[in-house]
């Protein structure tokens, strides 16, 4: 048998050298979430940077190597992951593609495009299929706050796109604390391992979650639904707000909605909408985005985004049987409405959309 004890285990120091220092870190929060849930008291997230809490804390590092393995930007597990998710090309395994929008007026009011993610999460809460979800709320200055919510009422606060980094895996570090609360309130959950969670994140974050699920490591072992959001690029919050302020004169606290459709459109709370040329945002783009080749997010049950959809709708890519069943249920319950493809476009529609995704992915990769 191979003497595994001699194998070099890469630790957080290697993560710092290979990922953080070389600007590859996407600030997903996976490394910190894992290390903290284990109670190792070694690393933390400072802004967008995972680092040792202190020189003393650095000595706590157990050198288990898990942080390096689950990091979405490292090589280990990528082959296995590609096999598991049936990845053959840049779009990943596609079971089906549809376009749809929510039928819920309240969600429509706060949703980004089709209001799909909020609607599906609402359904999962209602039908008792999830106990909690990881979403991104935002504070009064439009800064994303990744949050673990345990009810659908809180969903309204997390609707809409946040155009800056939201370390969505980070809240999982408090899973045990939240689990105790959930177990008390949802009496059908008798053990933390029986919890069912939905995760919403960008492709890189979904890749980290998928690596964690491949190894079945805490705290991601309770995630049963992974929703990947289409992502062309993401922004540094501070830099983005500076640019928005200077180009539109709208204060962060006055932003009602931000949308990118070729260019960026900022809608203020008093109803004003101002356009910013997408090129003007380049300085705020996070460096790791420039090396990313995932547009739709291949490591997920569902990939959702507006790109390619008619106005007011979202595109939904279903990758697993679980995803197809979920969408079927949500449609049959009348919670979302499928876009009616005009009869003459019917046979062309899906290949056209898939080609569009390929184009967008190529555009992103070229950057």
């Amino acid at each position: 048998m191979e003497d595994l004890s001699l194998k070099e285990i890469k630790t957080f120091k290697d993560l710092e050298d290979e990922v953080v220092s070389s600007n590859k870190c996407c600030a997903c929060g996976a490394c910190v979430a894992y290390c903290e849930i284990q109670g190792f008291d070694t690393i933390e997230m400072e802004g967008y940077t995972p680092k040792f809490k202190s020189d003393k804390n650095a000595e706590n590092c157990k050198e288990c190597g898990l942080c390096f393995y689950i990091c979405p930007q490292t090589e280990p597990l990528t082959d296995k992951l590609n096999k598991l998710y049936l990845i053959e090309d840049e779009l990943g395994h596609i079971a089906d593609v549809i376009s749809a929008k929510t039928t819920n007026a309240k969600i429509k009011g706060v949703g980004q495009d089709g209001g799909i993610v909020s609607t599906i999460l609402s359904y999962l809460f209602d039908s008792n299929q999830i106990d909690a979800a990881i979403v991104s709320e935002y504070d009064k200055n439009f800064q994303p706050i990744p949050t673990l919510i345990d009810n659908k009422v809180d969903l309204i606060k997390s609707a809409g796109t946040r155009y800056s980094i939201s370390s969505n895996i980070l809240p999982l570090k408090d899973l045990y604390a939240m689990a105790e609360k959930i177990i008390e309130e949802h009496s059908n959950v008798y053990d933390i391992d029986q919890l069912s969670l939905a995760f919403v994140g960008t492709p890189c974050q979904c890749r980290a979650i998928s690596k964690m699920k491949l190894l079945n490591v805490k705290p991601a072992h309770v995630i049963n639904y992974v929703f990947s959001l289409f992502c062309f690029e993401n922004f540094d919050y501070a830099k983005l707000m500076e640019i928005i302020k200077s180009k539109t004169k709208i204060e962060p606290s006055q932003i009602k909605k931000a949308q990118i459709k070729k260019n960026m459109f900022i809608t203020s709370k008093d109803g004003k909408t101002v356009e910013i040329n997408i090129k003007d945002l380049d300085d705020a783009v996070r460096s790791h985005c420039n090396e990313c080749d995932e547009f739709v997010g291949r490591f997920s049950d569902l990939s959702i985004g507006a790109s390619g959809a008619p106005t007011g709708y979202s595109m939904i890519i279903m990758r697993s049987e679980k995803a197809q069943n979920l969408i079927d249920s949500v449609i049959s319950e009348g919670l979302i409405e499928k876009y009616k493809i005009p009869a003459e476009q019917y046979s062309e529609w899906k290949p056209k959309k898939i080609n569009w995704f390929r184009k967008m992915t190529a555009l992103k990769t070229k950057k």
């Binding site: 284990q38 393995y69 059908n188 959950v189 079945n216 072992h221």
Partner: protein
Amino acid sequence: MVENSKSILVIGGGVAGIQAALDLGDMGINVHLVEKRPCIGGKMAQLDKTFPTLDCSICILAPKLSECYRHPNITLHTLSEVQKVEGSSGQFSVEIFKRARYVKEDVCTGCGDCATVCPVRGVKNYFDVDLMTQAAAYIPFPSAVPPAYLVDKESCVYLNYGICGLCIQACGAEAIDFTQTDTSLTLDNISSIIVAAGYSLIEDTVPLKKFGYKKYKNVISALEFERLICASGPLEGHLKRLSDGKEPKKIAFLQCVGSRDERNKDYCSSICCMYTTKEAMIAYEHDNNLETYVFYIDMRAGGKGFQKFLHRGEDEYNIKYIKSKIAQISVDNKGNPKLVYENYDTNKIEQLKVDLVVLATCIIPPEGIDELAISLGIELDENKFIKTNPFYPMETTREGIYVCGCVHEPMDIPRSVAEASSAAAKAAELVRGGEF
């Protein structure tokens, strides 16, 4: 121990195998007890209480487990299975396949620090019928014998990727040993073999979809019910529905699920009538407001005190026995099961809405029985239980190989123990008896 003594092999570490091993060990005979699971105890260790005395199952079993472990004449081989049997009665040679535990059995103190620090979760544990999951380093239940943890080969990150090793760091006794490998061991000088391989349940092989099992959360199997009502189980004995956590007020027990059934097994599973009454009684002890309905074809209560047990159920524990055939099981939108049945006493089609349905499922031969029978060179009957002659009920079709317990045919604990002692006596003849 007598010089040049031959040993006896007991296959299976459930209550039957344990009893046989103890009887033989006490006779001064060397015994090898082979068990495929990481620990001995079998199904009896998973039960809450036994009928008809309502004794705590593990409480009466645990002393036997310890005795087996400590006994100077008994060698315990867990995580082991019989691969090959050569030779003949009085002179068998047996090859055992032993899976690696990755933990030094005699060093592990059972502290559980490895399980606490292990990053992997979701490992299935047979003991709680998959109602609970574990870390990759785990022990099937706290009082398991041998009192040692083990590492699950498939999910361990160290064994698969060469990273982690947190358990090695955490173990104060330095008991984690990843240099262990699966091995083969040959036992010579085996004079006789006792097969006590126990049983499986029909839900392990046949999807009971028409009963709503694994489809509706409020339809569970009897073994799952045992774990849920047991104080050492996932709910710590506070019975709740798995769908919404509510305490059931009305429970329906359905008898003969998969047994006495032309489409599945046509034999009687023997113990279900008694254990269903037992389970209903235990549930009533937990909640005096409980109403229980037992849907049966015939109530089989042949043992000593058994018939009285059933009457007690009716008189003191609010159990209603309904002679019937179930036509349909469905659930409403809140997950409450609804039964439609033909009541044989009133000759009417009736309906009943309950909170929970428990299926008394059919006992079937254990997993791997075909391979075991081939290795041992013994015949199975038409239901794949071990074939015996009714006048020599402990003997298999091969001389020197004996059988006891549920692998022989479905039977309760007292009968399994009686058969075990009987098989031990027969097997001992070859060591102690006259010429052969």
